[in-house]
Symmetry: C2
Amino acid sequence: MDSTSAVPALAALAHERRLALFRALVVAGPDGLSAGAIAHALDVPPSSLSHHLGLLEQAGLTTVRRAGRSLIYAADFAAMRALIDFLLLDCCRGIEPEQIGACAKGECA
Amino acid sequence: MDSTSAVPALAALAHERRLALFRALVVAGPDGLSAGAIAHALDVPPSSLSHHLGLLEQAGLTTVRRAGRSLIYAADFAAMRALIDFLLLDCCRGIEPEQIGACAKGECA
DNA sequence: CGAATATTTCGATGAATATCGAAAGGAAGT
DNA sequence: ACTTCCTTTCGATATTCATCGAAATATTCG
C-alpha cells in the first residue's frame, strides 16, 4: 500500500459514523451484514448509509456481494491489515523513537 | 485511545500533504523540524503549512516546542503507536479473518 | 406482469475543509 | 527601540463533504 491508497482509506475511517459502521462489519466477520441490517443497527437513514458504505468500498476497506435483494457488505481484513502495515512501516518504521532517530541519520535500514 | 480521539488523528493523516508532512517528521526523529525547514522541504506556503501543523498537533500526533524564533515540530511516536494499536485492537482485533468470525459468534475473547 | 422489498442514485442544502496572501505576534540581534 | 526573521492568525474564496427526502433501480414473490 502506498500513500495514494492509504489516504482514502484513512479518510474513510476518519468519521465517527463510518468508524462505527466499519467496526460493526468487523464484528460481523467475513459473513458481513446487509445494508438494511446495518441501517437498523446504527439507526442511519438508508441514503446516508449508502453514501458511507460507498466511501468505505471505494477506499477498498469493504467488499460487497449481492444475496437476493440484499447487498451484503463485509470488512476487507486484508486491506485493513495493509493499511495498518502501511502506518507501521511507512510512517513509524515499526520501531521506537530512539531508533528512528538513528534511522534518520542513516544508522539503520 | 477511543474513537473520539482516533477520528481526529485519522483525519489528520487522511490528507496527502499532511501525511507527507508527518512522514518528514517521523524521518526527522525526536529532534523534529522547524516549521520553516518543513515549508522549504515540502514547498508549502507558510500559512498553509501552519494550518496543517495545527491540525496534526490538535490531533495529538505531534508536539511543538520553541527554540529561539523557530517552532520545532516533532512526531509524537507514542500517540502514533496508540492510534495503530487502536486500529489493531478495536477494529481488527489483531487477528485473522477466520478468527474474527469466531469472535463474532462468541467463541473467543 | 404487478406488488412488495432492499438499496442506490439524484438533488438540494448546510457545514466543514483547503488554500494562500496579507497583516499581526514574538523572539533575537544591533 | 528598531529591524529582521520565523511563524501564526485573519480573511476571503473555492472545493469538498455530510445529510437525507424523493425518485429510480434491481430482485423476489404471488
